[in-house]
Symmetry: C2
Subunit: 228 residues, 2 copies
DNA sequence: CTGATAACTTAACGTCGATAACTCACCGAT
DNA sequence: ATCGGTGAGTTATCGACGTTAAGTTATCAG
């Protein structure tokens, strides 16, 4: 645990500055070691060049610090989703690409993503604020466009976004937790899954959601027959 | 942290017995407090009626103990999946019900499910053994039946199982991590998602997996037209 | 120049996972 | 019967952890 040179005391008004440095140091530790066990108050303080109790001048407790770290992390996600959407006019393709961007974002820094979904004390968290204000809103916009096109009823937009999120989170989380499984090349499986979620829902919509298996089966038979 | 009455020393051959008691005690602590912070070596030892170092006679370290706890936990999952499948002849409906059983199993004991997917030291884990030998195998059987019916190519069975797993895990994990989201009643969203995964994939299969959005759109238009 | 206070340190508490060294009851072999 | 080996568990202790209380010092308004 290398300790940095001692900081000079910050000028009067700049408590916020150190807070930023602390978040940055914690993020770096997390990414470098890939293990949340490496992020101790002491290690963070040492990297910033400060003594452990100083951390508590800026964050109520360790959980609050980690929450701030994750909030910062998810702020980047919004940019990634925006970048994934640029130059893609078709909302269906855009939904897919944004979903894939989410998965890519998650597995790029496993330790950060994992820590963001760990158990948290109840109460308001910065992570939730950031997520609902950026990524969630952005996905809602895309899905709303799909709904406008008639893919789903407008009232289903919220549900569809949640389903896409659950699917993207599921594949990312499982890839991180069980890397030994047969995930195939790159994000092919994630792509197939996300496509299935988008299309499967419209398929269900057309058949009526509470479809009898036999009805589905008959429909499939017709489909296959019609296509050859 | 209540401590139990002192155990009498176990007879010669019965080290295994205490190991079982330790796993049980750790599970109880986890479920009762709903927080993995409540499961310390000391708390477990105290509950069993033994001193902390005794734990290390039966488990290499805390991680190994928690792995054993989770392995035991997932052994129950196999039973749940079996119970969910009984009396359901249709494999499509069975896949759905087993997926829902998975989600129900996960959210029934959040602390246990969460801990099972936390970061683990690389190397063989009992959890993985149990999962691949029971739940994964069981889902593969169901999906294989679907493939035999022509829902998917036989070569896709592994992928479909992974996708179902990812979807079920995703919705369960997200429901646990973000209970404040609009999940609706019960597992309705999970059900819709799982149905979409099953059906969406066959839809994709029929259209060709790398479908152009416009082609999808044309197909949807035809579908809607045909159904009115 | 001076007092108030923001920014930080020193010292310490209790708990944690883990290890080393010890005790002691049991059991088979003599 | 007894005695040594060993399995089962304990005592004592280590270093690291999160956190708090109390002290110190640099900065800045007046």
């Amino acid at each position: 645990m290398r300790s940095t040179a001692k900081r000079t005391r910050s000028p009067r008004g700049s408590g916020e500055l150190l807070a930023e440095e602390i978040i940055e140091a914690a993020s770096e530790l997390l990414v470098e070691h890939g293990d949340d066990a490496a992020v101790s108050i002491r290690a963070v303080a040492s990297r910033v060049g400060v003594t452990p109790p100083s951390i508590y001048l800026h964050f109520g407790d360790k959980d609050e610090l980690l929450d701030a770290v994750c909030a910062r992390y998810f702020e980047q996600l919004d940019g990634e989703l925006a970048a994934a959407a640029v130059d893609i006019d078709d909302p269906l393709e855009r939904a897919l690409q944004q979903g894939l961007a989410y998965v890519r974002f998650a597995i790029a820094t496993p330790a950060l993503y994992r820590i963001a979904f760990r158990q948290r004390a109840p109460g308001p968290s910065k992570v939730d604020e950031v997520l609902s204000a950026s990524a969630f809103t952005r996905m809602s916009a895309t899905v709303t466009e799909l709904a406008d096109e008639g893919f789903y009823p407008a009232s289903d937009v919220g549900e569809v976004v949640l389903e896409l999120w659950a699917a993207a989170h599921g594949v990312a989380s499982l890839m991180l937790a069980k890397p030994g499984l047969a995930w195939g090349d790159d994000l092919r499986l994630a792509e197939t899954l996300l496509r299935a979620v988008c299309l499967g829902r419209t398929t269900l919509g057309m058949l009526g959601v509470d479809t009898e298996p036999d009805e589905v089966r008959a429909w499939l038979r017709d489909q296959r027959h019609a296509r050859r």
